[in-house]
């Protein structure tokens, strides 16, 4: 049906082992690598130590930089405008990069799609874009993880912690991945108590510190007592929420250090292994699949350790659901389910497992989410 290829755990381990084996061979293998040094460019939309999205990618880039025969170049704070095209061009022409990771969602269309056809021999790996062979160049690839599952687990921790039965979500933009996270967070909480509702506030930008703080305060004012977010740098949301005495679920990276007592858990990216695997594929002369996806079981995402405020009951349910997700094919969106405008999302017999591509064009908020996609 689709040409989607999932990076399975087995192939990941095999290739990792092959890479390590090659390294272990010593001199000759290393010389072979050194003969064809690979320059890899990483482009971030914000600072690479933002406690969030960019930090997660930068940690992956650091793991790549530690590999033999690889030079990593990075540029931060590149807006999702013509600027990213200039950055890509300069990485290619001045630094000789042959593999690029422009990591922000908005880089894909139109920027990568405009630059990539001019460099058919180079490879552009974009995080989160919905690549398909009919429309997009073959030297562009897309990779992402099923982080919605992490937000579902966040929701379970939140569902046990909330007293007001109202939880809050500070979101940047109403794109499918953000909507999936909001829906998953609420559905996780509803797996604990179906009465729980989730208030969402969109800030309209990936990083707007003052607006994120205002949104968090507005959620706390409305009685939300567990707050999570999907913005690039969750530091402001985490600190503001904790300042208002609300529990916090993290996102992108581990923010427990910012609110040690109130941090329940968090959905984190785990790019190091994913990136190393891609580099090894290229070094071995292979080509990276154009459409790579993976979840908790594949090591694409991980959960922050549970915080001290998590009860035993919450811990048990969290671990049980996590084990279920680890088996693969878990569906957070399953029928019967309506959106918050009353339209049917899934009938009683329908379900959308984590790897269902339909989830990546999500345009609704499920019943129980207070807010609108603004469409």
């Amino acid at each position: 049906m689709t040409n989607r290829k999932t990076l399975s755990r087995r192939s990941f381990l095999n290739q990792s082992a092959a890479g390590i084996g090659a390294l272990a061979l010593g001199g000759t293998a290393q010389q072979a690598f050194a003969a064809t040094p690979l320059t890899v460019g990483f482009i971030y939309v914000g600072p690479r130590d933002d406690f969030g999205y960019n930090q997660a990618h930068a940690e992956g880039a650091a793991a790549v930089a530690a590999m033999e025969g690889v030079t990593v170049i990075e540029e931060e704070n590149v807006p999702e405008t013509q600027d990213v095209q200039n950055t890509m061009q300069s990485m290619i022409q001045f630094d000789g990069a042959t593999l690029l990771f422009p990591t922000s969602f908005g880089y894909f269309n139109p920027h990568i799609l405009e630059v990539a056809p001019n460099y058919p021999d180079l490879r552009f790996q974009h995080c989160g874009g919905l690549w398909n062979s009919a429309e997009h160049p073959s030297n562009v690839g897309s990779y992402f993880g099923y982080i919605g599952m992490g937000q579902y687990l966040n929701g379970i921790a939140a569902g046990h912690a909330t007293q007001s039965k109202k939880i809050g979500f500070v979101a940047a933009k109403p794109i499918p991945q953000v909507l999936n996270n909001i829906n998953s967070f609420l559905l996780g909480a509803r797996a604990v108590d179906p009465e729980i509702v989730c208030q969402v506030i969109f800030t309209g930008e990936w990083s707007l510190a003052v607006k994120e703080a205002e949104a968090t305060n507005a959620l706390a004012d409305q009685g939300c007592d567990v707050i999570t977010c999907h913005v690039d740098g969750p530091k402001v949301v985490v600190e503001t929420a904790a300042g208002r005495g609300a529990y916090v679920c993290g996102y992108h990276a581990d923010q427990s250090a910012l609110a040690p007592d109130l941090y329940l858990t968090g959905a984190e990216w785990n790019w190091a292994g994913v990136y190393q695997n891609m580099i090894e594929t290229v070094q071995a002369g292979g080509s990276i699949d154009n459409f790579v996806r993976g979840g908790l079981a594949d090591g694409f995402i991980k959960m922050s350790p549970l915080g001290p405020a998590v009860s035993d009951a919450a811990r048990n349910q969290f671990e049980a659901v996590k084990a279920e997700i680890m088996q693969g094919g878990f569906a957070a969106i399953k029928g019967p389910l309506n959106d918050n405008e009353g339209n049917v999302i899934a009938t009683a017999s329908q379900s959308f497992p984590e790897d269902d591509v339909a989830l990546e064009s999500m345009d609704y908020l499920v019943e129980g989410v207070i807010g609108s996609t603004g469409a």
Partner: protein, 307 residues
Amino acid sequence: MSADIGLWGVPLAILAGAIRVSIPFLFVALGECLTERSGRINLGLEGTLVFGAMAGYAISYETGNPFVGVAGAALAGSLFGLFHGWICKFRGVNDIAMGIAMMLLGLGLAFYFGKGYIQPVAPDLPAIPLGNWSDIPQIRAALQINILFFVGAGLALAMWWMFRQTRVGLVIRVVGDSADAARAMGMNIDRVRLLATAAGGALTGVGGAYLSLAYPGSWNEGISSGQGLMAVALVIFARWSPIACFWAALLFGGAGALGPALQSVGVSDGYYLFYAAPYVLTLALLILTSSPERALRGAPGELSITK
């Protein structure tokens, strides 16, 4: 945090937001007001604001004392002001072009020196809990008013009094309104402007320290989102009056809180429009108060944009 306040959340959020968000606007606007009354424009305050945020955060983190951080930010801001003031005194230097250069310089330096301070958590400035009379937690939270708000309000009053009643204020006004008259009175125009620009920079630095040490209370490169530039426009909107700057800053802060507050009570369609509220408001007020018959009321005569 259990009390259900429903729609009351909107006016409360606007009030609380007006207080929380207005402070950087207020300090930058007061700084720019002082500089412009002396006849010079400093468009570089956005850079000074961001550098002040970085310096305040870094110094607070290194010393463990947020007040030392604020003082450091003020010092850093005054250095930027001094530099701008010194360059602008040379013949043929355009203060607007120089201001833009100063803005880029401030941003660049702040990003460069601030790299290592994005992660650490620095001690914050204390807030004064004025809401303890209330049992409603939302009101208590809204009335956690930062000490710098009172400082800013006091400064607005003091500056108004200074311009009106003191010799220093008179000197600044004469230098700003007519360089010829000031020269005839034997005033040192360059020195007055240099000091006014430095003081304006210091106030802006304090505004920056509020961003990183109070609200939102952490340092990152996107901390200001253009507040320094908006505050410069706000001075024109406030017709160069310190008291009007105070009200204008409150208005901008409150308007900025409108979008999130409306979404939190379920009014979520068209939130981009609500986010544009401060700008729409400014435009509307400027149009309503403008007149084709006369020039801007209150504008210092020596200002390069009105001359």
